[in-house]
Amino acid sequence: MAETTQIEEIKPPVTDVGVIGWLRQHLFNGLFNSIATILILGFLIKLIPQFIQWAFIDSVWFTSGQECHQAAGACWSVITQNIRFTIFGYFPYEHQWRPLVAMIILVGMLVYSREWNRWNKRLGYAWIFALLVMGLLMKGGLFGLVPVESTKWSGLPLTLLLSFFGILASYPLGVVLALGRQSQMPIIKSLCVVYIEMIRGVPLITMLFMSSVMFPLFLPEGVTIDKVLRAQAAIILFTAAYIAEVVRGGLQAMDRGQYEAAESLGLNYFQMMRMIILPQALKIVIPPTVGILISAFKDTSLVVIIALYDILNTTKSILSEPEWTGFSTEAYIFIAMIYYVCCFSMSKYSRRIEKQLEYKHTPNQE
């Protein structure tokens, strides 16, 4: 007994605990790691003060472009002075509160919907209502709101619009394509395979070119489809093919027994898919699906190439003004931050839902 107490009283050597211990374990374990740590630290010590000097100490925030050219550091004025144009683009100046409110509604709805247990009928109606309100705010024409044609939709609202509807519409389409590809019917199967492989084989930019320069000729005389909607369709068709491949992975990962059990219950194909297979398969593939959706969000920036004014293009438009040429680094850093925040929150969001779904399927909940 006395011995045990004695042993407990012996403390680990000071080099194994506390700050020193942590340093030894994580930074200086071994010769190579020590050298690497020192090199990296030296590099960071040289670099970080320089960056801080440039970005914060020598920088200017609320000046005109001329004063910016004299400043030694970063010119954040390029953002602060042009923030309304960067965000809202060519949307009529005095009506820019409308897209702002629409974006706030969208973000608010998304934040509210983050809890799985809030997903019920009422939320569904709320979404329908919110979408209608957002559409009304953007398009106008009712209740005394001045109509704004879609060619004037630009900046961040356009980016969010393209990605939100791109994601919303491509998901069900992708699931249908995946089911088609797994189907026993040869014609349907081969059509789906051809579609998926063809779309996955070409870059999005060719799809956008197709939508902007080629597709109008495919329509009957006199029918035209709005430019924004065409780009939207291209993004949806493109993303759906990728989602289909991911969902197929989920379907293949399902145990054969699940199918057999469902069939032996007498469920038909649609019932089986809807009630047994898809809920499980889609859950397995949440992480890769989110990866695809994040890509879709980033890829909306490609509409720059077909002259739609999303947030990247409004920024470029600012940079081509004589007052603000030469500050692309600052402007691009700002846009990169916006994209980063959006993508990052998307992946956090999905992880949250994924966790809640896991919890839901513990036995006592069933």
Binding site: H26, N33, I188, V213, F218, L302, I305
Partner: protein, 392 residues
């Protein structure tokens, strides 16, 4: 639907599963065929009605535009066909170099994120987070702007090493003056590779038989450097160089790497590497820790554990997603059009501009990228199979 389930007294033909399947398919096929026919007939009516030209006849015509950089001889007097070929080769060039670099960088960063060194793994993770979440097009714009905003004009060129000049026109560096010797050295290099392959095969066999190890790496390096060097000396060791000189507006002579190419390459490599790092990381993590411990316990050093035990197994997990990332890189190279590198999409775009034949132009773009995709996946499938057989 549920009522159909219950009616089992008499089976109507539409309740028969097989008949129904055929019916569905016929309906779908007819629908797709109808849509296809409808769209194509629309194109035809539109084109005829407005007398828009069609067909691929323009391929034979003189292109009459210049292309900034080309791997083959090209001038404005050549045909559209050749111009498009130049575009294809440029796309291949940037894709191939990009694939190699991004695989190396991605693997390196992937290994870094698993490092026991806290600083290295944090930096690796931060890299992945950062570059994954920013659109590649934005990165391209950023790097391109950086190139022409930071570097000086040709007359104030940076000159870090004798003969190498860095300007906002790109990097100019000397190359050996044309001499048949360089051709021979190329052959010697290929020969060296073959010899090394044979040596390695022999060394592996010997090790399996007798357990004796052979320093393949050092011998290989010796052959790889030695054989070309020998060829060079035997042929009189020519040292004449084609050095870039500032003449008029630009540097003449030597080789030039343009800012467009560099920005495109750097953007694509950094972006794709962040995805590959994640794949490599997941691949390594998929190997159970017992493998590492077992390898350590037979006395292998950490580097060798990675090389001999972990990697060969992890590759099976890594290769399929890696393939699709490398394909993505190829496809993303089409963004070159935004920063002015004359890749295939850019050349085809100019062709559309000049001929006004959008349908043909876009169709060609799709066919070319589809071919790239199919070839890449065919290669990777073959490689996949090969790995599987070796590993068994």
């Amino acid at each position: 639907m549920s009522s159909e389930q219950n009616s089992n007294a008499k089976t109507y033909f539409w309740n028969d599963e097989k008949t129904r399947a055929i019916l569905y398919q016929i309906v779908t096929a007819a629908f797709v065929a109808f849509i296809g026919y409808y769209l194509i007939s629309n194109v035809q009516t539109n084109m005829e009605k407005q007398s828009i030209a069609s067909g691929f006849g323009f391929i034979e015509k003189e292109a009459a535009f210049e292309i900034g950089e080309s791997l083959i001889e090209y001038s404005a007097a050549d045909t559209y066909g050749r111009a498009l070929l130049v575009g294809v080769l440029n796309t291949l060039k940037v894709s191939l170099i990009g694939m190699i670099l991004t695989t190396i960088l991605g693997t390196f960063i992937g290994v870094c994120t698993l490092s026991t060194n806290w600083l290295i793994s944090k930096i690796g993770t931060m890299y992945v987070e950062l570059f994954q979440n920013i659109p590649v097009l934005l990165q391209l714009f950023f790097f391109y702007a950086l190139f022409y905003e930071i570097f000086p004009a040709p007359r104030q060129a940076l000159n870090p090493i004798t003969g190498v000049f860095i300007t906002n026109r790109g990097i100019d560096f000397p190359v050996p003056a044309s001499d048949p010797v360089w051709g021979y050295i190329g052959l010697a290099f290929v020969a060296a590779c073959i010899v090394i392959w044979l040596v390695r095969r022999w060394a592996v066999k010997r090790q399996e038989r007798s357990g004796q190890q052979f320093p393949t790496f050092w011998v290989g390096l010796g052959i790889l450097l030695g054989l070309p060097l020998l060829t060079w000396i035997v042929n009189g060791a020519p040292t004449e160089m084609d050095v870039p000189v500032l003449k008029g507006f630009n540097f003449q002579g030597g080789r030039n790497i343009s800012p467009e190419f560099s920005a495109l390459l750097i953007g694509l490599v950094l972006y794709t590497a962040s995805f590959i790092a994640q794949i490599v990381r997941a691949g390594i993590q998929s190997i159970s820790h017992g493998q590492t411990e077992a390898a350590m316990s037979i006395g292998l050093k950490p580097g060798l554990v990675l090389k001999l035990v972990i990697f060969p197994q992890a590759l099976r997990v890594i290769v399929p997603p890696l393939t699709s990332q490398l394909l993505n890189l190829t496809k993303n190279s089409s963004l070159a059009v935004a920063i002015g590198f004359p890749d295939f999409v850019q050349v085809a775009g100019t062709t559309i501009n000049q001929t006004g034949q959008a349908v043909e132009g876009v169709a060609m773009m799709m066919v070319v990228y589809l071919t790239f995709s199919l070839l890449t996946s065919a290669f990777m499938n073959w490689y996949n199979k090969k790995i599987k057989i070796v590993e068994r």
